[in-house]
Amino acid sequence: MSNKTILIVDDSATLRMSVEMTLNPLGYNIVQAVNGKDGLQTLDDLDAHGQVPDMIISDINMPVMGGIEFIKEVKNTKFRYLPILVLTTEREESKKREGQQAGASGWLVKPFQPQTLIAVVKKFTRTLS
């Protein structure tokens, strides 16, 4: 079992829940945010309580603040070292490139296979034991 915390940023409650249901049984603690702005706020909130997530999963197309901007903003904070997996329906290479340049660490296309998400998340949250 893992005791890691993952911040999921997506405007779809269904998606957030499905991620939570995929990862929760493995012991991941899931924290949710509904858009980029909320994501930044949540990072601050978590930080204020000394609870820093181990990775971030973010959508790209969201209202208020989208994923690319969110990633860029995160890279300007002390959380810039956090791996960020983009989970999106966006398949276009140009978008992907944009995400990479902003600092995304991975790109997974929705709808995802639970095993795939688990594998990626495990990879990103693996630490030296």
């Binding site: 269904t14 309580h49 000394g50 070292y81 997974l108 990879k123």
Partner: protein, 688 residues
Amino acid sequence: MEDKLLNIFYDESAEIIDTLEKGLVELEGSDDPEEINAVFRAAHTLKGNAGIVGFSDLVDLTHLMEGLLDKMRAGVFQPDAANVGLLLSGVDALKVLIHGYIAGDPPQRPQDLMELMAQRLGEEVPHSFPGDDQKNRTDQSGTEQELSGQFHISLRLSREVLGTGSDPLQLFLELEEMGSFSRVECHIEELPHIEDLAVDGLYLYWDIWMNSQRDQDEISEVFVFLQDRAEVNVEKAEGKTETDSAAAPDVTEVKAPPGAVPAPPPRADEKNGRPENRPAGPGGEKPAPPPAPKAPAHPAASSAATIRVETDKLDKLVNLVGELVIGAARVNQIAGMIHSQELSSAVESLGHISRDLQEQVMRVRMIAVEGTFSRFQRVVRDLAAELGKKIRLQMSGTETELDKNVIEQIADPLKHLIRNSADHGLETPQERLAAGKPEQGTIWLKAYQQEGKIIIEVADDGAGINREKVMKKAAEKGWVTADSQISDSEVFAFMFQPGFSTADKVSEVSGRGVGLDVVRQNIESLRGSVEVESKHGQGTTFRIKLPLTLAIIDGMTVSVGKEIITIPLLSIVESLRPTTSDLIVVENKGELVSVRGEFLPLVRLYKVFGFETERTDATAALVVIIESIGRRFGMMVDDILGEQQAVIKSLEHNYQKVQGITGATILGDGRVSLILDIHGLEKLVFDY
């Protein structure tokens, strides 16, 4: 677990469909790109969600809608009536599909509509299957295949790379999954003296030889996210691998790139070390973050800072707080009985707090009328098209909040009134022009709070109600004589009587066999009232008054024998003690009581419910004058005890539905009081 996901999906879908519908109606004729984006995003999210839960028909339909919206966004299609109409039909089909899924009875796929959409797009109708998402994969994973090959990778990352979320260890772990390392060389030449070493600097670089069944591109993919932060070279190595081991004194274990990994940030890992564990609510929403600046009025964003809570939980909370208030009242009474000043004042402040608490808890159940109101844009649009009229819907006070149950039940009556205004109220464009009015008629939908009640008005600038026509009809029905001198409001009240309809012919729109009497009934069952005002040639206003909440009622407590009855204050006009001369008995009409010259039916409450009382002489009892629309009557009770707020407990839940009784409440002294349902009582007594 599955159900949990589905419930969220259904909830969210309803919200998205609302957004879609509202957005589409606003979109028509508009060219605001943000408007189209919002609608597009809604369709997109719904498609994604449908994919997650595996509703393939929904995926296909939303895919087509998304395609249309995309073309609209790109300016290829215009947001004209035809295109918006097609999309709105899509919205309708979405509703049908979702309702079907909820009912566990998946409906037919709307093939015709989908073909129409596909045709417009010049595409084939898609046909996906549940779980049809095999094609997606990550850039980090893949499947084992093909022959094993030897690769040489030279890897040199920029010094700052550790500060940007890229961890070389991840790269090694990923590579490791693609094959096996035959040799790794770690170069430490650039490692500075310990004093000059920046903790987040990366001074190492590597040469890696590995066997893998993947091709060169796939291995390169591992580094794709490093882009300009790395010099990476992946090449197929031929033979030259484990030969010169002697010349490699600095081979390092991959598992520990020395010293260069930044320490993980401090973190309280123990559960109890987390002051805020931020669990997802039952609806999957996280608790709202502390006061974030209000997001711009965006449909998707306005639902964002909310928690979803099952109404059940809220109801329980409301109930418990109700009990608390009653408990406090009981203690207060006891304090009075034992004459303890100190206890009394302590209990009094406890009472204040519990009432404040009660009010706050009630507020939690309140939601803005906006969601319901915005649905009417679509209704009005469709009506205008159907009736060949030009109609604009103007809304105000959409932020006004109302109990969730009330909102749900007020939607139908409102829709009916809007239909009524569109159909009977507003004139045709020709008639309007002839009357010197603008061609386009307006329907106003307003909500506001007044004197502890919520008022909702449906108004139009149409021709107004024809008093003569109503009188004539009422006279035909024998409710009134044609030459009666009665006020406008009394005349208009006839429209709420069952069996009344002035429309010369039953129209498709509002004449669906449902009259204003049903509207009235619905509103009264919410313990509200409705009145109408009309000026000839200028328009009509229907004004609905609703209680803030259904859970609490302002009541007057009266006694009948040993029973204590609570009468909703809203329905009470006055109370009086009749003299013998005020009471008459008329054949076929029963007992009447005269109130300032007006004879009202007298209802003996003890008889209605079969209570036992000694006070059967009306002159010794009290008569409470009750008013509901179109009817006043006197209700005979033993005595009036006082006024009080009552928390309604449903009888249905605990016993069974009783006609004429809304529910029960517990009084301060612990006794139970039945709460009258005036409308039900009327039915029971006057038998219609």
